[in-house]
Each structure stands twice: as C-alpha cells, then as structure tokens.
C-alpha cells in the first residue's frame, strides 16, 4: 500500500513536471551587469554584453521568451535557488563546488584568466603568452607557480568576491600576499587605479578591455594565462537541478549554435576572438 502510494505520488509529480515543462513559454535569466564585455549596464540602463546576446540567441532557438535581470554576483546562486529567476548567464564557470548547489548546461564559452599588476612595481619580467592549466600540477608547473609566489610576496591582490579567482588566489598566494575581495569588478578596478591594491586575478578578456581604457594604462598582464583546476571546463548556464527539461533545451541550443557558428560570431563581436567551445565532430 505504501509503495503504491509512493508510486502514485511519483507519477503525479512526474505528470506535474511534464505539464510544467510543456507550459514553459518564458523564462527569466539573471546576469551580473558589472563585468564588461561579458555583461554590463549601458548608458541607457539596459543590460548588454556577450552573455545577453548569447542568451537571446539560445532563447530564439528554444522558442522561449527571455527576460534578463541584473543581480549582484554574491547573491546570484541563492537567488536562483529561491526561484527569483530560472537561469544564470553571467560568465559563470562550471565548477565542482557550484555543482553541489546548482547544475550547468554544457559550456558556451571557454575563457582563460590572468593576473594583472600595476606598472612600475619592479616585478621581474614574465611570459604573458604562456598558458598554465591548474589541472594535474606537475613539477614544471609547480616551479612556475613558485616563481609567481616569489614575485607576488607582500603584494595586495584584489579579486571578485565568491569568484573562482578568489579561490585560486587564496589557494596559491593566500599565505604570501594580502587578498581583498570586492563585490564588483568595477570597484576592484577603481582600487587598482587608485593604487590601493597592486594587482588582481580575473577573467583575461575583462582585463583586456580594462587595459585598453585610459585608467588601464597603468596596469599590465603578469604571468601566464591560467585555466583548469578550480575554473573547470568553461562558462555555462547555471540552472536549478530539478529543471532537467530546461538544462536539456539549453544543451541542444548551445550545441546547435556552436556548430552553425552563431556563437563564434557573437564572441567575435564582443571579445574580438572566438571563445566558443571546441566540439567533437
């Protein structure tokens, strides 16, 4: 009897779930709106950027009506969990830690990270075109990291609060450098310009745009491009675990738009390079 009841309950839940999936015609997507060119607020107060263009492209393919809302970074996952919106598209990397609370679509972008430092600190020269993956650290990688630690000793580094860069900086340099966490990339840049901090770690493409502005002239890249490890396989759409239908729909739409080059075009528009993921044939 009890088992029958459970079955009936499960069946009714399933039906309810399916019905819900069929009903879905519109979703709300949260973005941060403070990390150009990924997503930011333009002078008219509208959310624009790579994430928003990709979101609109995917929604068109899924035949869903999408509304974007701006949400501060450190509340973006809790907000999804309490159903303030249905998806996160905010340059968010797919990580094991986040996967404990939410689920992700397949990656729609693969973006490296890099350290920047103020010019004139007397730092040793470094190869900024080198690439360092933090997955499977061997002896050679350890040596590179040790060199970085040596250069960053006693420096103050800024990171975005609850970002992977924060975790990486704490892990690699937390014992030799002072780490300050900011609630937005914009505030981090302000403190970098006013020389309160010596450098920072974050999305390479976000830095790149900053370095091209007048304020960014005083700052330069330092050390190799960083990826892997905590950053995981790339940037994905953050979704609630129970919304499997939506996750599948996003996966299909992303794959299709990577294959026909639509995603690559959007990436060229915002970043000047194609950072759409490489798919097996």
């Amino acid at each position: 009897m009890k088992r029958h009841l459970t079955c009936a309950l499960a069946a009714s839940l399933l039906v309810a779930g399916l019905a819900h999936a069929e009903e879905r015609t519109a979703i709300t997507i949260a973005s941060e709106g403070a990390s150009p060119p990924w997503d930011y607020i333009d002078e008219n107060g509208a959310l624009v950027g790579f994430d928003i263009d990709v979101g609109n492209e995917l929604c068109a393919r899924m035949k869903l009506q999408c509304t974007f809302v701006a949400q501060d970074w450190d509340g973006i996952i809790p907000g999804l969990l309490v159903k303030k919106y249905d998806a996160i598209m905010a340059g968010m990397s797919i990580t094991e830690k986040r996967k404990k609370s939410i689920t992700f679509s397949m990656p729609y972008a693969v973006a490296p990270n890099q350290i920047v430092m103020r010019k004139g600190l007397g730092l040793p020269p470094s190869d900024i075109t080198a690439k360092l993956s933090l997955t499977d650290i061997d002896a050679a990688k350890k040596e590179t990291i040790e060199k970085l630690r040596e250069s960053l000793k006693g420096r103050t580094l800024g990171v975005l609060r609850s970002s992977n860069s924060e975790a990486v900086v704490q892990e690699l340099f937390g014992d030799v450098a002072e780490v300050r966490s900011y609630d937005s990339q914009e505030n981090l840049k302000l403190d970098l310009t006013s020389e309160r901090i010596d450098g920072g770690l974050g999305d390479r493409l976000v830095w790149k745009q900053f370095l091209d502005t007048p304020d960014g002239k005083a700052v330069e890249f330092f050390g190799p491009e960083l990826s892997g490890g905590t950053w995981g396989p790339g940037v994905g759409v953050g979704l609630r675990k129970e919304d499997t239908d939506l996750t599948e729909a996003f996966d299909m739409a992303i794959e299709a738009s990577v294959r026909d080059g639509a995603l690559g075009k959007i990436s060229q528009k915002w970043f000047g390079v194609d950072i759409s993921p490489q798919l097996a044939k």
Partner: protein, 243 residues
C-alpha cells in the same frame, strides 16, 4: 533550515566582533569629541558660529552614509592630488576611510542631539551659576553640559545603537567585520538564510549589551544621589515628622 550551519557560522562570524566594536567605539569617541564643541557653536546665538555647523550637520544628515563612505573611499582615491599627499597614508586604508565616514556622520547627529539638550537647560540655572561668579567656560563645563547630557542620554543611546549597525557598511569597502565575514561565508556555502540570521543574532547581542549599559548609566545619572548609608535616617525622619 540547517541548525548546525547556523551554530557554526555564528562561531565563525564572532571573529568579526572585535573589528565591529573597534569601528563602533573609535568612531563614537571621535564623534563625541567633535560633537561637544560643535553643539555649543550650533546652540550659540551668534550666526557666524552656528551657521557653519548647521551647514555641516545639514549635509551629513541629509545624505546617506553609504554615499558618504563611497565618496571618501572610491571618490577621494580618484583625485591625484590626494593620492600624492600625506593624507593618502590614511585614506588608502579602508579602515581609516570607514572611521572617517562614521565619525563625521555620527558627529553630525550627535551635535544636533546635544544642541537640543543645551538649549533646554533652564536659564535660571545659568543665572544662578553666573551669580556665584563662574566663568562662561566653567558654566558650560559644570552646569550646562552635565544637565544637557543627562536629558539627551536616551537619544544619544539611540545614536550609538544606530552606529553599531551602520558599521556593517564597512563590508562594502572590503573590510571583514561581522557583515563582511557573512558575505564571504555566503559565497562559500550559498546559504544566505542561516548565515545572515547568525549575523543578526550577533548584532542583537551587541545591541542588548549596549542598551543595558545605557539603561544603567541613565539610572545612575538621573536617579537621586546614591546615599545608601543615609536612607534609614531619612526614612526615620519622615516617620517622626508624620507622628
């Protein structure tokens, strides 16, 4: 709700209490030292003394504390002249920026509170003090300020409690006091409910202690002089009178 998380995060957040208290008491002290002379200037009948102080309290009470903090922290940092001056030694540090903002803001409110108390002191008392030959400064120090302070103590206690909570704004400029630690913890656990609840409990505890302190101070200052040894004699005298 996760009770274990609530308890463990309360313990973790407790390590932010020293910074919260340091910010509160340091800005309280600075605010008090500023407010006492300013409130006498503000209560003065001479326009050239009271108007500048009025302008100051008007600006600082009329704008949000968060805006003031951002202007001091992010705004002043953009000015090259300030960055190359000696002031930058203090202003580059988020702690001193917070202290400056909280002190100036708190002093504005405290000035107006004290001003009200000063103006409410009965003229008869001042005249009596003049009659016994006290100098103006002596009158202010011995008569006006003690009476004024007693009468505005409840309002002042209110201001102190507001200040405790205002220190949470320090978290917006990277300081890790109670609120700053909470936000850090939320970003690690994605559980804002339990963690901000724990932060609320800690603030409530601090406010509870401060309220108790001010209640005791009020009772002590406003109550009759403590004359324990004489209580019985007074009572006896009254009894004999009645007889």
């Amino acid at each position: 709700m996760d009770i274990t998380l609530l308890l463990t995060s309360t313990v973790t957040l407790a390590s932010g209490i020293p910074l919260t208290l340091l910010l509160t008491f340091a800005s309280l002290l600075a605010g008090f030292v500023l407010a006492v002379p300013l409130s006498f200037m503000r209560a003065s009948s001479r326009k050239w003394l009271s108007l500048p102080v009025l302008a100051y309290t008007y600006v600082f009470r009329g704008t949000p504390l968060l805006v003031q903090l951002f202007i001091i922290y992010y705004g002043l940092g953009q000015v090259g002249a300030i960055r190359s001056s000696v002031l930058w030694v203090l202003l580059r540090d988020p702690f001193w920026c917070c202290l400056l903002a909280f002190s100036l803001n708190g002093a504005a409110y405290t000035t107006e509170i004290f001003r009200g108390g000063i103006q409410a002191v009965a003229t008869g008392m001042i005249e009596a003090a003049q009659a016994v030959g006290m100098s103006p400064l002596q009158i202010k120090r011995r008569i006006i300020f003690p009476i004024a302070f007693r009468s505005v103590l409840p309002s002042y206690a209110n201001e102190v409690i507001s200040l405790v909570k205002a220190t949470s704004l320090a978290s917006t400029v990277t300081l890790l006091e109670i609120t700053g630690l909470s936000r850090k913890l939320v970003s690690e656990t994605f559980a804002p409910y339990e963690i901000f609840l724990a932060a609320g409990v800690l603030y409530l505890g601090l406010t509870f202690l401060l309220t108790g302190f001010f209640n005791a101070l009020e009772a002590r200052l406003n109550g009759a002089p403590r004359a324990k040894a004489h209580t019985r004699r007074v009572a006896l005298q009254q009894v004999t009178h009645e007889l």
